[in-house]
Amino acid sequence: MTSPLLASDPAAAASAAAPLLRVDDLHLTAGARELVHGVSFGLAPGEAIGLVGESGSGKTLTCRAILGVPPPGVTVSGGTIRLAGEDVAAYTRRQWDRVRGPRIAAVFQDPASYLNPSLTVGRQLTEVLRVKNGLHRRVARARAVELLASMGLHRPEHVHDQYPYELSGGMLQRVLIAIAVSGDPDLLVADEATTALDVTVQAEVLDLIATLRAERQLSLLLVSHDLAVVAQLCDRVVVLRHGRVVESGPTRQVLDEPADPYTRALVADHREYGLDRLATR
């Protein structure tokens, strides 16, 4: 849980030594309308940050910009996004291809839409391994099965030969995570990755991400509307509202003693209903 940025504010974080990801005064614009107005935060190697906010807060937009895939019509109109020191805001497609995989990878809410329905999941994972890691066909297959096994999937050889429609949402998300970590990235971006899952499956996937972080020194940028999910995994929280950072800091500090009125309302809303209240009712 210790991190060089744990107790620092955003300004101090900026000066911290060699952050893995450094977003500075990021502005995003769609046409004439500015949607994100100067968002800044940093992520140290091995750290996990939660980006929270209600729909329309700009958290997903910010996340897409960091991944180099802003929605059509949205452009970075100011600020910088530095990944391991390099400004990626002006990256070309080819430059992105180089960093996706070994540097940064992502998983999203709807895993099925990121897989080709007419190819087995193993084939799709193997393809990534061969293209990105230059593995030989046979080696890639062995590596793919190994990866699927380390995702906690039972009978990985069997899963390897199955088509996406044969797998449940939770299994598909594990396959997507396998593809994401196959290039051994430094940073994993998870955008509402467990939102559509059943609560038991969500718990399993969160556990999986926690395990991967520990085993692979993976940094994590977790985007979620659910504060409880963020509380499971993140060292620090950045709260967004209407395209601005309203508060950021260590998770426990932000969730237990929120300083900003908006964060306070967010936490109070979350706590109004919940299993914890039952015991005290």
Binding site: E54, S55, G56, G152, L153, H154, S168, G169, G170, M171, D198, V199, T200, V201, Q202, A203, E204, L206, D207, L208, A210, H225, D226, L227, A228, V229, A231, Q232, L233, R252, L255, A265, L266, V267, D269, H270, R271, E272, Y273, G274, L275, D276, R277, L278, A279, R281
Partner: protein, 267 residues
């Protein structure tokens, strides 16, 4: 006292074969003014149960009674006549798909009264405005098309549409799972008020145990087409007896910090 909704021995088969059953002898009751939480994972049959109760899925065995009267045998014009009473209402899971994209919010909410033939058009509009206000929506939104509303607003419109016909029984399919905390609280408060002020019997399907903890009187746990546990909400959530319920409850994330890592089971 008879329950407002009483479903007994409900069976729904996959196709025409009794071998593969989506629901296998499920019972569900809800009294007036009671909120019953129906929980279970994807594929447990909870949506099918609600659809079978309202007659959208074929009932291969079992009965459904509303205020003591069997309704599961109704067909054709009789069924239409019963449906027009509006006594049982079902709120679909996905508000975007359950609202006609080309019909304004107000017309959608006024649809039940219109089909029933209540009063004149102006009365029905007034009824729809009242229903919108009941769920805390600005009636000025009534002229909009569903595509121009936020997810939380749309969810409330579908609830208002059900309320416009004064239901005795309200079945809601995951009414809060897609909403952020503020919108979720709003919807839950609306449901709580309906139960207290209008004595509506409410069945709320949800995988969000936290929401149910705050509002449900009883909880029914469905697992692979069967009821595995049933009881008062506090008892089921605090002292679950069935292993599946235990696993379910242990999986709920808490804002207060990481869960003790749950034994990783994979499937």
């Amino acid at each position: 006292m008879t329950a407002a909704l009483e479903a007994d021995g409900v069976e729904v088969w996959l196709g025409r074969r009794a071998k593969s059953r989506i629901l296998d002898g499920v019972g569900l009751t809800a009294r007036s003014g009671e909120i019953v939480g129906l929980i279970g994972e994807t594929g447990s049959g909870k949506t099918t149960l609600a659809r079978a109760i309202v007659g959208l899925a074929p009932l291969h065995a079992g009965t459904v009674r509303v205020d003591g009267t069997p309704v599961s045998g109704l067909r054709g014009a009789e069924l239409r006549r019963f449906r027009r009473t509006g006594r049982v209402q079902y709120v679909f899971q996905d508000p975007l798909r359950s609202l006609d994209p080309d019909v304004t919010v107000l017309d959608s909410v006024a649809e039940g009264p219109a089909i029933r033939g209540d009063g004149r058009a102006a009365d029905r509009r007034a009824r729809a405005v009242a229903a919108l206000e009941q769920v805390g929506l600005d009636p000025a939104l009534g002229d909009r098309l569903p595509g121009r509303l936020s997810g939380g607003q749309r969810q409330r419109v579908t609830i208002a549409r059900a309320l416009a016909v004064d239901p005795r029984v309200l079945l809601l399919d995951e009414p809060v799972s897609a909403l952020d905390a503020a919108n979720r609280n709003h919807v839950l408060r609306v449901l709580d008020r309906l139960r207290r002020e209008r004595e509506v019997a409410i069945v709320m399907i949800s995988h969000d145990l936290g929401s149910l903890a705050g509002i449900a009187d009883r909880i029914v746990v469905l697992y692979r087409g069967r009821v595995v546990e049933e009881g008062p909400a506090a008892r089921v959530l605090l002292e679950p007896e069935d292993p599946y319920t235990q696993r379910l409850i242990a999986s709920v994330p808490s804002i207060d910090g990481p869960r003790p890592t749950y034994a990783r089971s994979t499937r």
